[in-house]
Assembly symmetry: C2
Homo-oligomer: 344 residues x 2
């Protein structure tokens, strides 16, 4: 079997951080990987008067999205998506979820049939009574096996080599081990678990819990209350996934970085928690706060709460997940935030 040729699809903060690890690791494991080049697809834009691809390829730094972190020289920025994935056998999807559809439109029928993929995209797709994780979407559209990586992973901390962990939910153990080789370092520990759906869902649902934690911060109820909300949220995540996805593993939620640790990181200081706190203390709408605090980007937790609400309604299961429910009603229906803990 030939060596794996990696391609990274997406070059934001997280994509650039992961490209750094991958660029170094293909050299370390050049028995498994082609180490000459790790192409990274860059949505071309100008930054300080220069093209972003040129900055990356000349200065070896993504100055816009991951400043002050040197990328290995074998990480090569390419503005054309199809050129990026040409010959690639190991496709790493790492982009905001709203761009995935367009990207797959371009890629469909164009990737290596025996390629493997992994998605680092957070989120979950809901369409009425249907719910799906992006690993399945990629797998179905491209006809390639797709694993998922998710964990308590603040991109800058990973990129600057501070101790952290992540979880890969794999399709086959062999693929899991290949992905682990591509990403693991002495300070970035990769655990493997046979649960693509569980790992994927954690990354989406934890944002709802993080919003609830931010409400508690805003109410100034204290760490005791906050820990209670995180515990209840974690269990709702687990129960929700066990109800609607077959074969998810309890460990993904309760023991893995993708579950319990990511809930903790997100609730300690993530954007969902910060903005939800401001919602309580600042007397502004989420619309206003998204503009002010997130540069117009969407606050994932409240949108996931809405998706989950729509889904549970379509499945006639409203009321079964009281914390998710409360986050929806407070965020979208004007329920007073002090009602959050009632009846949990």
């Amino acid at each position: 079997m030939g060596k794996e040729k990696v391609a990274i699809i997406g070059s934001g903060n997280w994509g650039s951080a992961i490209a750094k690890l991958a660029g170094n690791n293909v050299k370390k494991h050049n028995d498994v990987f082609d180490d000459s080049k790790v192409p990274i697809w860059v949505f071309e834009e100008e930054y300080e008067g220069r093209k972003l691809t040129e900055i990356i390829n000349t200065d070896h730094e993504n100055k816009k999205y991951l400043p002050d972190v040197k990328l290995p020289e074998n990480v090569v920025a390419i503005p054309d998506l199809l050129e990026t994935v040409k010959d690639a056998t190991a496709l790493v999807f790492v982009m905001p979820h709203q761009f995935l559809g367009k990207c797959l439109d371009q890629l469909e029928g164009k990737v290596n049939k025996d390629a493997k993929a992994i998605t680092l995209i957070k989120g979950v797709g809901v369409d009425g009574a249907d719910i799906h994780v992006f690993a399945d979407v990629i797998q179905d559209r491209l006809g390639v096996s797709c694993s998922a990586l998710s964990g308590a992973n603040i991109a800058n901390e990973v990129a600057t080599d501070r101790f952290s962990e992540t979880t890969i939910g794999y399709r086959t153990e062999e693929e899991g081990k290949m992905w682990q080789k591509l990403f693991q370092t002495a300070n970035f520990k990769v655990q493997l678990i046979d649960d693509v759906a569980g790992v994927s869902l954690c990354g989406a649902l934890k944002n709802i819990v993080a919003v609830a934690a931010g409400f508690i911060d805003g109410l100034e109820y204290g760490n005791n209350s906050k820990a209670a909300i995180m515990r209840i949220g974690l269990l709702e995540m687990k129960h929700f996934c066990q109800e609607f996805f077959k074969d998810v593993k309890e460990e993904s939620f309760l023991q893995e970085s993708a579950g319990v640790a990511d809930v903790i990181t997100s609730c300690l200081g993530g954007r969902n928690t910060r903005v939800a706190k401001a919602f309580v203390t600042g007397n502004k709408s989420f619309d206003e706060l998204e503009k002010e605090m997130l540069n117009g980007q969407k606050l994932q937790g409240i949108h996931t709460a809405k998706d989950v609400h729509v889904f549970l309604k379509a499945r006639d299961r409203l009321g079964a997940y009281p914390l998710f429910d409360k986050v929806y009603h407070i965020s979208w229906e004007g329920l007073p935030v002090a009602k959050l803990t009632e009846g949990l």
Copy 2:
């Protein structure tokens, strides 16, 4: 069967908070409990020129340990231990663990033989290769069935009715339900589990994890690293207890307030985390920090880490719990704190 007569043994911050709940609940459930009086044993001392028992019985407030919280009038402070427990059928132990031995010396042979007990005391007893939880000690010494309560419970937050949760590990389901009736309120949710040892051990071992989290805070590694340490610590707690105590339940650690939620609360802002952070940033010994920051009280996490180290050595299991090990070596043997994450 007659009504349960409650006695509370201990009147610090947590004892006073729990006395407030119990005093109210015996009235609410006066079909089960004698609601005329909830005696609380007070180690007599002077506070602002008055006896503490007099303050509690006149002002209905423990001004020294839980100021600004009104206690129900049926909570009656008694300076004599044996008088406190006279006729009691439901004994609540809630005192610093170092006073338990003396207390049991006095009580042995003097309590109702069909009484039930519950301990809210944090900690674990280690003596060479022997390890024991206080619920077992109380049960053995007094010949009464003893359950355990532990959770993410900051006394002031519970006393001021902010939303929180706790876990009771019970001996029999019937006893569990009785204790739940004594403590549960609309904002203080009590979960029951058939695991006295697991619930007890959580309250002791989480302090080691909280010290490790404080080291990470001091190192400024960020929330990502901190969440990783908490996850690893939680799993070491679980594995340690599964190795040395038969029948502990995984849920106590991973799903209950006593486990995951208490780890979170403690690592967010508890004293172990705060002092351990100061150890890293302030260049002072733990001896000095205990004097300066804890009024001379011991920092439980580092002492529990030492106890666990002694125990593991006696059992020839050094090295099996790397995080516990690192906390011991950093706290007591001068290992540089930056080594904390190495090899985890």
